[in-house]
Each structure stands twice: as C-alpha cells, then as structure tokens.
Symmetry: C2
Amino acid sequence: MESCQPHHHHDAEVEAIPDGALRFECMCSAGGSLQAVDEVRWMESHPDLIFPAVPFPSKHVFAATGTDALRGLVRRHHDRLKATVVGALFPDDPRMFAMAVEKAADFVVEACGGPELFTPVHGPMRMRIRHFPVSIDEHAREVWLRELLASFDDVGFPEPVREEYWNWMEPFSIRMITRRTTREQPRRHPYAGAAASLAQATTAVGDA
Amino acid sequence: MESCQPHHHHDAEVEAIPDGALRFECMCSAGGSLQAVDEVRWMESHPDLIFPAVPFPSKHVFAATGTDALRGLVRRHHDRLKATVVGALFPDDPRMFAMAVEKAADFVVEACGGPELFTPVHGPMRMRIRHFPVSIDEHAREVWLRELLASFDDVGFPEPVREEYWNWMEPFSIRMITRRTTREQPRRHPYAGAAASLAQATTAVGDA
C-alpha cells in the first residue's frame, strides 16, 4: 500500500553498545562530565517522542450524532482555531481554508462510522504524513485540543459520545506533532479535567 | 541539576491497550479500514524518532589534534554551512554568527579532551535543549554532516582520529533534529562510505 515504505517505523532498531564499554551518564547523573577521558564513552539510546495508543471511535459516535453534527463540530472548531496561533498554520485564502475544513470533516464522518467520504477521495488516512508540511509543536496541539473541547459546548455536541470522541483525538493529536520544543513527552489531558488542565497548559506559554 | 526535569525522558511510559480490545491495524496491513465498527479499535503505541547510542570521543582526539586544529575544523565547517540551507538557521549578524561558531568550538575542544572551555561558561551540555529554538529537519542534519566530512579534507584534519570524531557526530547530530518531515528513522552514515551516502542523500532532495 501507498503508506508502507522502506525504513517504516516497524523497522526501527536500536544498536547495541559494545560489551564492557564506558557509559557516558546522562547529564542528570552527578557523574556526567563533558571532558573526555581515556576511552570512548557511550551515551545510551532512547526514544524522543512516543506516540501513545489511540482508541479509534466506534460507530456509536456517528449513530449518536450524524453527518451534520460532526461537520458542525469540525467547522466550529476551525472557526475557533482561526483566532489562535494555530490559525496561522492554515491557508490564508478563505476558499483554501474552507477546503481544509471540509476535508477534515470528511475524515471525521468516516472515522466515526458515517459514509465513506474520505478514503475513496483522498486515499489511506496517513494523518501524520499529511501533516509533515506543517510545523506543529506541543503548544499548538494543546491549543487545538482546548478549542475542540470548547466547541463541544458551542455546538451542543451530544454528551454521551463526547468522552469517546475526546479519547480518540487527545492521543491522536500527539501524532500530528512535527516540531519538538521540549524533551518531555507531550502532556496528556484526560477528558475529566481537560478544560482545567488545558487552560493551565496553554496559559503558561502566554497564548491568548 | 538544571537539566533534570519532571517528565524527563527517563519517565516515558507507554499505556497498555485493554485486554481483549480490538486492534486498529496499521494502514500497512490489508485489514486497515478507516470506517468505524461496533467497537472502539486501538491503534498501537510506537516511538517516533529514536536517538541511537552516541560514542563520545576519547581524549586521544585532542592529543592528536589540539586546540587550534579543532577550532579550525569547526570554523571551516561553519564557513561551508553558510553556503547551504543550514546557513539560514544561524544568525545573520556576522558577530553573532562568529559567537555561535566559537561557542561550538569551545564545546568540541572540551568534549575531545582539551581545556574546559565550555562547561564553566555555558553550564551542562544540554545540546538538544540548546537547539530547540531552531527548526532542524533530517535533511539539514545530512547537509551538516556532508559539510563536516568535506571540512576534514579542507583543514587536513589528522587521519587517525577522523573516524572517531565522525562516529561521535554522526549519531549525535540525530539528537539535534527538532523538525520531523518523515516517518522513517534518520538515515545512518557510517564513516566508510559517508561521502557517497551523504552526496546521494542530499542530492535527492535537490539541495545544491
């Protein structure tokens, strides 16, 4: 399939440090000194960003909402984003912006159990690959999530499926991060308490 | 220490997918379909970028080179970078550019076993954190490496320690990547064959 490439993530391998080699302790350790010694010192391998598991929605989400409610949520969400730092990541041209929003809505409708509006037109999901042209950092993700949560109320999104929808988008959005600005893993925002944790997270950086 | 923070990479944990849960197969699998089914489907966790182990140089590198040869290498390398896409990542102002180069040279001298020029002035290494303000993608890393390799010849860097120096910088440079543009792990460029593999890698993207 189109999305299956050589050196795909399944192939990720970590090289071994030779037996008996000196270790260059992480700078967290008191032993870490930059200055070289007699032997080569090995700094250990570790992953940077770890994508958490993502629970994709059941078709009960579509059953409880329908095409219009899902499209309305996506449109309201993007209207809100325009007033934030995330808005600058979208096309300036209003028609191009609208096309991006409708494409996102097509994706959401299909992923929630509605008509197949996305795949027949755009091909396999490949959501991370689709976001590579855009520089999306950890803060942009949290602003995006904050505005999604507020949009639930704005459009009166059905209460019984808000949490299932959130549990999908909250970890899935981590896979759209293309620009790292911190060593920490992205903060998690469970549905219970998300409004407060996102307000705190996004205010700390000074975004309006 | 200053570099040790909450949610540091040591704390990275991967959540478990519930027992018996449906799996949302990777799109590589023939089973992957975006459209929702009766149950929630879990897409598996995986790391994005994996930092390989890094062999920091022994003090034999300084013994074979000395302060002037190491500083000369770093200066020549950065002169070369100015003519590439990587040059745009540095300050425009010539004095600011020169300060960045001399700081890098201080780091290299100390890390190779020379005088402690870096740590007493700038504090712990924290090289990834220092690069967070700059958007450095996989291609920029390969251009950086290509110009380093060419600089060995330009300055007549002592042959016996070229490979040890390269074996340090080649994996270490992966930790400076802050902007991801591909799902694949960054390409590795072992010293033997690096000139050819880097020429091929950087030409493919069309960088002069």
